[in-house]
Symmetry: C2
Subunit: 571 residues, 2 copies
């Protein structure tokens, strides 16, 4: 079949736009790749075109007792505008692992449609370390986010319909917490009044829209272990309070069944490939602040039953991403990482050391010396969980040997192996050293992972533990509203849940300008929200934006089709 022909392609040189590299890359038919790389038969795949497929839930269930591979978590230092390349490193590491002879796949989050049209651009790796087909992955992909939007919208419509037709559950319209979502950056929808226009058109009330990735349903899809668990979690969602303040769930208003129907296909992980034809699941993409920021448990577990090694990532820096990966995703699912890779760049560390983005071109080992405190802090934090990370220094062409030496010295001090990774420019061959380091670590056996707090600690103690151990705050200051909420959640029987702290990703503290490794600060908790379906309590510190706006000149204005019907302008 013509689709099966493989050619060794000449890719555009490093530094070319990601989309040009992605488009120049050949793709293997996904059915063939699934067969010879994962042993997955064609019947277990639901193809979406020739290069994407979903993996059936029945097949995943049939592999429940299969031997499991080793799990590698990729996390990073504190994010800066310079970019760290966590997804790029995950893809490159996976390509490298396959190059050195391991049977490995990577599990990533799905990009959100909204930000593609704002300024963030796509999120499918970069350079020679990308997953493809890049345009599909960045746009509608296989419809998962649309399904989440639909299920979320249905629940919202059923709530307002319940009010309209007699309000049998005695819902207090002022205490409806279920907002609406759309997968678009649309600031005008943040705060709205609905139900206007008279008696036939609903009960007037205040509400608003969030972006789809902020939906609790996104977190639920990513934590559910099967269809029954998905529906149970959907039913557990608390949508409002009654006039007596008791919680009303999605199950109380009988919305959970239809929501599960809408999400049934979306629960299936999506299989694609890297530029180097290595398998990748891309599935789910919850926010890393008000949710846990990891791809689905379904995808990670399925991958572990198909491969010897699975590389996955968690959002933001290790203080937020790795902590939530461990204390939420691992706690709920039983997963544990066998190795952790901490991504850093010389540029990011220089920014942590106070260098402005425009000055990053100049070599400055002194700035790295100052900024490396950030890296040190993250390594020490991960050691508290019982694992010393492998540091992946994601190489940039202007990095000087002196700068790199500073990083290596700190790693040596802390017993962390440091490797320079050049996958962005070179693809998997540039990540072979990193891959070998990961392989060596896996060969040494599995670390004993300690979660940060036990389930039965009080909710406030959980927050205080994360604040003290990870953020190195001296105090936690709970607002009276937050205190009241946490007490109430405990009384309602949710005290055993883990906490999901929503704070700025740009600092260990709540001040995004406080770079490096601040300590002794106060963590101010403004609000607590219960995500009873997802199974965590969100601790809101500072302003958390759940509906982004578009910039003055959105990326959308430069996106279009050329004369051949090909997409241009998608970053």
């Amino acid at each position: 079949m013509a689709l099966d022909i493989m050619i060794e392609e000449e890719l555009p040189p490093p530094g070319s736009p990601d989309i040009d590299i992605a488009r120049a890359a050949s793709m293997r038919p996904i059915v063939a790749l699934a067969d010879d790389r994962l042993g997955v038969p064609a019947e277990a795949l639901i193809p979406f075109g020739h290069y994407k497929a979903k993996l059936s839930l029945d097949y995943i269930a049939s592999k429940a007792e299969a031997p499991k591979g080793k799990l590698v978590l990729v996390t990073a230092v504190t994010p800066t505008p310079a970019g760290e390349g966590k997804t790029t490193t995950s893809v490159g590491l996976n390509d490298g692992l396959n190059r050195i002879g391991l049977n490995s796949m990577v599990c990533l989050r799905e990009p959100s449609l909204g930000p593609c049209f704002g300024m963030k651009g796509g999120a499918a790796g970069g350079g020679r370390a990308q997953v493809i087909p890049m345009e599909d992955i960045n746009l509608h992909f296989n419809g998962d986010f649309h399904a989440i939007t639909s299920a979320h919208s249905l629940l919202a419509a059923i709530i307002d319909n319940h009010l309209q037709w007699g309000n049998e559950q005695d819902i207090d319209p002022r205490r409806i917490v279920w907002r609406r979502v759309v997968d678009m950056n649309d600031r005008a929808l943040r705060n709205i009044n609905v139900g206007l226009g008279g008696v036939a058109h609903g009960i007037p009330r205040e509400t608003g829209f969030d972006i789809t990735v902020a939906s609790e349903i996104m977190a639920i899809l990513c934590l559910a272990t099967d269809l029954a668990d998905l529906q149970r979690r959907l039913g557990d969602i608390i949508v409002a309070r009654r006039h007596d303040k008791s919680p009303v769930t999605a199950r109380d208003i009988e919305a959970d069944g239809a929501m599960a129907v809408l999400l049934k296909d979306a629960l299936q992980p999506n299989l694609v490939q890297s530029i180097e034809h290595n398998p990748a699941f891309i599935h789910g993409g919850p926010f890393a602040n008000i949710a846990h920021g990891c791809n689905s448990v379904m995808a990670t577990k399925a991958a572990l039953s198909l491969c010897d090694v699975v590389v996955t990532e968690a959002g933001f820096g290790a203080d937020l991403g790795a902590e939530k990966f461990l204390d939420i995703k691992c706690r709920q699912s039983g997963l544990r990482p066998d190795a952790v890779v901490l991504v850093a760049t010389v540029r990011a560390l220089k920014m942590q050391g106070g260098v402005a983005k425009k000055d990053l071109g100049d070599s400055s080992p002194e700035a790295v010396e100052r900024g490396v405190a950030n890296l040190r802090r993250h390594i020490e934090n991960l050691q508290k969980f019982g694992v010393t990370p492998i540091v992946a220094l994601n190489h940039f062409v202007l990095d000087s040997d002196e700068e790199i030496a500073v990083v290596q010295q700190v790693c040596d001090e802390l017993g962390a192996r440091c490797t320079v990774a050049k996958h962005w420019a070179e693809g998997g061959v540039g990540a072979e050293e990193l891959a070998q380091a990961v392989k060596d670590q896996l060969d040494q056996g599995t670390p004993e992972i300690n979660l940060l707090y036990p389930d039965d600690a009080p909710l406030k103690t959980k927050v205080e533990t994360v604040a003290r151990e990870i953020y190195r705050a001296a105090h936690v200051d709970f607002s009276s509203a937050a205190s009241r909420s946490l007490d109430e959640f405990s009384k309602l029987g949710y005290g055993h849940l883990p906490v999901c702290i929503a704070k700025t990703q740009y600092s260990f503290s709540t001040n995004p300008k406080s770079t490096g490794a601040p300590e002794g600060h106060t963590l101010e908790v403004r609000e607590a929200r219960l995500s009873a379906g997802a199974g965590f309590v969100v601790i809101v510190c500072g302003d958390i934006m759940t509906m982004p706006g578009l910039p003055k000149r959105p990326a959308a204005l430069d996106i279009g089709l050329d004369g051949n019907g090909d997409i241009v302008g998608l970053a």
Copy 2:
């Protein structure tokens, strides 16, 4: 390959729930069906699972010069709560045509997700005349409606963003006509205030949501002839007026390119099959009141290049559906029907004759005698377009011979062939007589179709022509607002567009209770709206609902998954 095994199945007996029949039916792999039934190679298909596929635009373009098949339009008498079975008849007729040896396919509209959860249920035919996989078709299908929702949402976000960042185009926020859409029945979103909460969150203004099928983008997708035409039409959408009242288009705010990117895949027709394994395109589904109510031009034209006969349908009764099919879809695309089938049922005609739904079980040739005036009127109307329809009497088990005889006599009088069709109970074999009648008509040659009015008639004259010739109104009463708008549209250069009259589908008049064949009434035109991208002027007569509400007990509450993960409760 296991998927290729065909078994002659025992389907559940007539009267079983549609979903049970649909699920019991075997399906052929769509790639095999496309190959041996349509001559379409695998490379031209984009599969969505094993039983659905999109047909590539490149392949469609490659068939531009292929010989074209004959087009059969299926339309109906005035709708009643008894149901007429237009989609069911279209599917059954196609199965019948294939049974008698013709190479035929059917083109239908896609169901809307929202109404599935309200009370309408699905829309994929019924009984033994269905298209499958029924659940997929009724739920997310291949993502076309989600793509339309996304493109619509993007344009809305760009408009409000434009206001927020300085309003370079001087848009009058009170004159923004572009609302938002969601594919859900959500009455609380009909009238909303957005942009609340302060300076960072947009400009406060009144707006609202419609259901996705009411989006002008839906009409555009269904009238576009290729990707370039799609983008041109998207750019032509008028979203607002400036303070000087001049129109602002989507092109003016540079939204058209990104919208086209979002809709690129949705423009590809979706191929599925009937229970009897005959090919079907299901593509697009615009409202039949504020839009033209037909599946896409892309699908119809592609089908004509692949088959000898193509069966298609138009929304509501022939007064609305067939008129718009001819005066909008055919006018714009150059398509012309070679035969027309008019679907009627004894039950519907009895309701037209004044019988209540609960009394339909009793034979009443007298009621049919009264109600058949409705059928007569539709036949005469179609004759004005130059074609005498074949009447398909969609058989119901309680129809008496005396009742049927009344229908046959009227058909004889008007020179229309009348056939009793039993596809609902029997599948294609029950529609063989109808199929033979259609074949005979096609063999007689192509009728000379007259569109109802020339392009260069004034807009008011176009409305008056439809009102007089089709609705048999004595007068048209334009509100002063409507008159002003129509004058303005002409001045702006849109006077050449056809009109799309939005009125109740339940009567020739604007009074839904006026059954049979009323005449001499007044058509009251309340408002005129310009759909410059779709290419028609909407003439609003009476209240037209563009966002349905949910009933007291929505169908959603009974939809769910059973223990095997199979969907239950989807009608």
